[in-house]
């Protein structure tokens, strides 16, 4: 069903992403709007990515939100970005966690101009991808950046917050 994937360099990925982000910024002065656009584009990618991910990773259904978090960080980031991420800062009722990314390949060769440092979440695409992918398996989340080393923060942190897990009406059929 899915052809074997080839490898490309992280540099090409980062270069491609950077060029498209620059194009969006050129068309739209408002960085907040571009953040939304990136989120939306990411969500489309996530929607299209999840089937391939499930078939390639041969993952069986996750039993809870904690396992989902682990799969995203350990397998998802590894498969698509070549890096692993850390899950941390769970809240008390296990509905919110943070993902820490050590070497974000999207922003590896990037420096933000000063006027964008307080407004643009350069890698906001990633939040969209997570949201879009989980949405397809009926896990509704909100996902946003908390920190980004591009903004001069100590680390790159994405917060994922569970909204609800929608019960499947016709069990297993989708999986």
């Amino acid at each position: 069903m899915f052809s074997k994937s080839e490898k490309i360099s992280v540099e090409l990925l980062s270069l491609t992403y950077g060029t498209f982000v620059a194009r969006l910024l050129k068309e739209n002065d408002n960085a907040e709007e571009v953040n939304l656009q990136l989120h939306k584009i990411g969500s489309n990618i996530g929607n299209r990515l999840i089937d391939e991910f499930l078939s390639k990773s041969r993952k069986t259904a996750c039993k809870d939100f904690r396992e989902i978090a682990d799969v995203i960080a350990k397998y998802g980031f590894k498969m698509y970005l070549g890096v692993t991420a850390e899950v941390a800062k769970w809240n008390e009722d296990d509905t919110q966690f943070s993902i820490y990314i050590e070497n974000n390949p999207l922003s590896e060769f990037v420096m933000l101009p000063i006027h964008l440092q307080q407004t643009l979440w350069y890698s906001n695409l990633l939040c969209g991808v997570i949201k879009g992918a989980l949405e397809k398996i009926n896990v509704m989340v909100e996902c946003e950046f908390k920190q980004d080393t591009l903004r001069g923060h100590d680390s790159t942190e994405i917060i994922v917050k569970l909204v609800e897990i929608v019960e499947d009406r016709y069990e297993d059929d989708e999986m």
Partner: protein
């Protein structure tokens, strides 16, 4: 060896960003054809920028004086190293008339090959066809950008033969 990632995310990134560029504009009905040209131009420009930067990483390891002494040598670098970076393979066929015209043919380009027709849904097939056109624009932009960085100004045009599944890029050095 530089770090690598699966090309799946790269392809999806290209498809979805191009979708966004194509769809965010609100083409006024009067300027329909013009709007198509503008979109196509924007996508070519994205390709151009990526191509001109990417070629640098192909050329750092090459002895420039030897490899870039003439147009044919430059074109060979495009057909092998440059294409390899993008599509993990070389161009299938490179032809020239030795008067500044070149033809690159590539069998089953992955980026295009994945945009197959969905058999009986005409509307979907039409969308796929439009998308294939934009991807061809993107790829010709990549080539033009790479050549430009190597000081060759060229007209590039491309065509995808859906039946033979071959991408053909024609290059005319100015």
């Amino acid at each position: 060896m530089a770090a690598t990632v699966s090309d799946g995310i790269w392809e999806l990134m290209i498809y979805t960003f191009i979708d966004e560029i194509v769809n965010t504009e609100t083409p006024s009905s009067a300027a329909g054809a013009k709007a198509e040209i503008t979109k196509s131009h924007k996508i070519k420009m994205c390709g151009f920028e990526i191509g001109s930067k990417l070629i640098d990483s192909c050329t750092v390891m090459i002895d420039k004086s030897e490899k870039f002494s003439d147009e044919v040598s430059i074109m060979k670098v495009i057909a092998t190293e440059f294409w390899g970076q993008l599509f993990s393979k070389s161009i299938s066929n490179l032809q020239t008339n030795n008067k500044g015209k070149f033809k690159l043919q590539d069998d089953g380009c992955r980026l295009l090959g994945k945009l197959v027709d969905v058999s009986d849904n005409e509307e979907e097939n039409r969308k796929q066809k439009v998308m294939r056109g934009f991807i061809v624009d993107f790829i010709t932009g990549l080539v033009k950008g790479a050549l430009n960085n190597l000081n060759l100004e060229a007209n590039c045009s491309g065509e995808w033969d859906e039946i033979k599944r071959v991408l053909e890029i024609s290059i005319e050095i100015k």
